[in-house]
């Protein structure tokens, strides 16, 4: 039994340390402002806001493990939210809106894959371009004017997206839990996850061992498009309105969450749990800082410190061979 625990600790040292960081952070929050952090309200707020960044971060973790990147997903969130609202406005059916939104998301993701794999443009550059493209398209179609989603409220789909379970648990938190479990299981226990790890670690070796690397990458880019559409629908349903700028604030927070979570930008290494913790850190720091009585100007500064410190730590651990031996 002891050796089993020891083995488990050794296996999960990175996840356990980042979990410890989250626990310590919340303890500090509780000590600094007990009246806020000992009440349910703050956790209710977290459960309604953190899922947006967390779901995107989990989805993009696959792409970063592959050694690729996607900078266009925030614009795809906006595009798909807008398509959802637009189709609903003209057709009056949320499900047709839902299907169109997911389809557009999938196409946007697949296009990224096409440009990266077939046209052979590095993902950093092409997704930067696509980011402007999709956002620009939304501005043109919308004329800069947003759309209301008030009329979607009576639908079942609205309740599935952002309803409140027993009035206390936001539905998006359930989405987050399901998506976390699904992605973690795929990465660790499914053949496809194995192929992601190897394609990101050593692409030539993966090819020589018969892994269809292109198919893996296409699938990963496409799933991020679909997930972006889902987040677009959830986040805009939460505020019952689609701004043409919807999703634009997510890009940096999502990437920060992934890297704080210990996923390597060089590919081949990363965990879903780490990303989830990273998203919780990013998503709760703001409230923690504000309720501790510190002025809001400090928030970005503290983000910066957290990101720089965690990346320095990972870099040190990797070079010292500690991570290499353990995970």
């Amino acid at each position: 039994m002891k050796t089993v625990i020891k083995k488990y600790v050794k296996r999960s040292v990175l996840q356990l340390s980042i979990f410890a960081v989250v626990v310590i952070m919340f303890l500090i929050f509780i000590i600094l402002s007990p009246e806020t952090f000992l009440s349910y309200n703050i956790y209710y707020a977290f459960m309604s806001t953190i899922p947006f960044t967390a779901i995107l971060a989990i989805s993009i973790t696959f792409i970063i493990i592959l050694g690729e990147i996607d900078l266009s997903f925030a614009s795809v969130v906006g595009l798909c939210a807008f398509i959802y609202a637009l189709v609903f406005k003209y057709v009056g059916n949320v499900y047709i809106g839902l299907i169109c939104s997911l389809l557009v998301g999938a196409i946007a993701g697949f296009l990224n894959g096409l440009f990266v794999l077939k046209v052979r443009i590095p993902s950093l550059i092409i997704t930067l371009g696509m980011s402007f493209f999709w956002r620009g398209l939304v501005y043109i179609i919308s004329g800069g004017i947003g759309l209301s989603l008030v009329n979607t409220k009576p639908s079942v789909w609205y309740k599935l997206l952002v309803g409140r379970i027993a009035g206390v648990i936001p539905a998006q938190a359930v989405w987050l839990v399901l998506i976390t479990i699904f992605f973690a299981v795929i990465l660790n226990y499914h053949r496809f996850g194995n192929h992601i790890l190897f394609a990101g670690d050593n692409i030539e070796s993966a090819r020589m061992m018969g892994i269809n690397v292109d198919r893996v990458k296409f699938t990963c880019f496409t799933q991020l498009g679909i997930v972006s559409a889902l987040v677009g629908m959830i986040s805009s349903s939460e505020i019952v309105y689609v701004y043409p700028t919807a999703g634009s604030g997510y890009l940096l927070r999502v990437l920060a969450a992934v890297f704080i979570g210990g996923t390597s930008v060089y590919g081949g290494r990363g965990t879903i749990f780490g990303t989830l913790m990273g998203a919780i850190i990013i998503g709760s720091l703001e409230a923690g800082i504000l309720s501790a009585g510190v002025e809001g100007f400090w928030i970005e500064f503290v983000y910066g410190i957290v990101i720089v410190v965690s990346l320095t730590l990972y870099s040190y651990l990797t070079r010292a061979g500690i991570l290499r031996k353990l995970i």
Binding site: Y189, H190, N194, L197, N202, M208, G210, N212, R324
Partner: protein, 264 residues
């Protein structure tokens, strides 16, 4: 061709070739990597493929494994035409390769590397049988006889060169392939590690499997090979049964080929 037949071991001649490549041509732009060459290997045979860097050895094996597609020519596996096979198909047929750079994922665990691209899964759902994979890996590690106790959870980057080679060979052995291709398996290895690798190769023969051993080190290949094929600038220039030639003869032959290359 008659000359070749005469010196071929009669025992082997009775059998049909395991793998036969006919009239294989491959060019990379203007560079001719292989000029309409033939190659065959029989069951239970160890063939040493010898030649300088750039002679065409690597291209030949990459065509066998399906990594590279030949421009022209046919490939037969147990008599069946497999000229347009993929890497996945060649592995399914029973061709395993230990590549020169070992084709391992450095950041991944040993057990994941063993089953890379051919995971043990629960039927068609694609979910990996974790316990079984680790158990099999443990057995393989024990079988290989590493000098220290390796945990199946260790990542490849924590291993020595010889241990990495051991994992790559263990992977090839696990799938019970009929043909195992080793590309420069003794490169950058210590003397003890080299001995170990050569012993593995003898073990392959004992199991009745075939093996292509690619090297430029004649001292490593001569003791274990049944037949030695010399490749030079895209052409097969020599094909000898080992029992008919001495190591000295072979070295002289190689030297004359090298000298000829310099004159050309």
């Amino acid at each position: 061709m008659n000359v070749l037949k005469n010196i071929t071991n009669t025992k082997i001649e009775d059998k049909k070739p395991l793998l036969e490549m006919v009239n294989i041509r491959k060019t990379f732009g203007k560079v001719i990597a292989l000029q309409n060459e033939d190659f065959r290997i029989y069951p239970g045979e160890i063939v040493g493929l010898v030649g300088d860097n750039g002679a065409g050895k690597s291209t030949l094996i990459k065509i066998i494994t399906g990594v590279v597609r030949q421009d022209r020519g046919e490939i037969y596996w147990k008599g069946k035409n497999i000229s347009k096979h993929s890497v996945e198909q060649s592995r399914m047929l029973g061709i395993e390769t230990v590549y020169q750079d070992r084709a391992l994922g450095e950041k991944q665990k040993i057990w994941r590397n063993i089953f890379m691209g051919r995971e043990i899964t629960f039927s068609k759902t694609g979910f990996i049988q974790l316990r079984k994979s680790e158990q099999r890996t443990k057995e393989l590690i024990n079988e290989m006889g590493f000098t220290r106790d390796l945990d199946t959870d260790m990542s490849i980057s924590g291993l020595s060169g010889g241990e990495k080679q051991g994992v790559a060979i263990a992977r090839a052995l696990y799938f019970d392939a009929d043909l195992i291709i080793l590309d420069e398996p003794t490169n950058n290895l210590s003397i003890t590690e080299t001995d170990k690798v050569l012993n593995f190769i003898k073990g392959i023969k004992d199991k009745g499997k075939s093996c292509i051993f690619i090297t430029h080190n004649i001292y490593h290949v001569y003791p274990v090979a049944d037949r030695i094929v010399i490749v030079d600038r895209g052409k097969v220039v020599g094909d000898f049964q080992k029992k008919n030639i001495s190591m000295d003869y072979l070295i002289k032959e190689l030297q004359s080929i090298a000298a000829k290359g310099e004159i050309d």
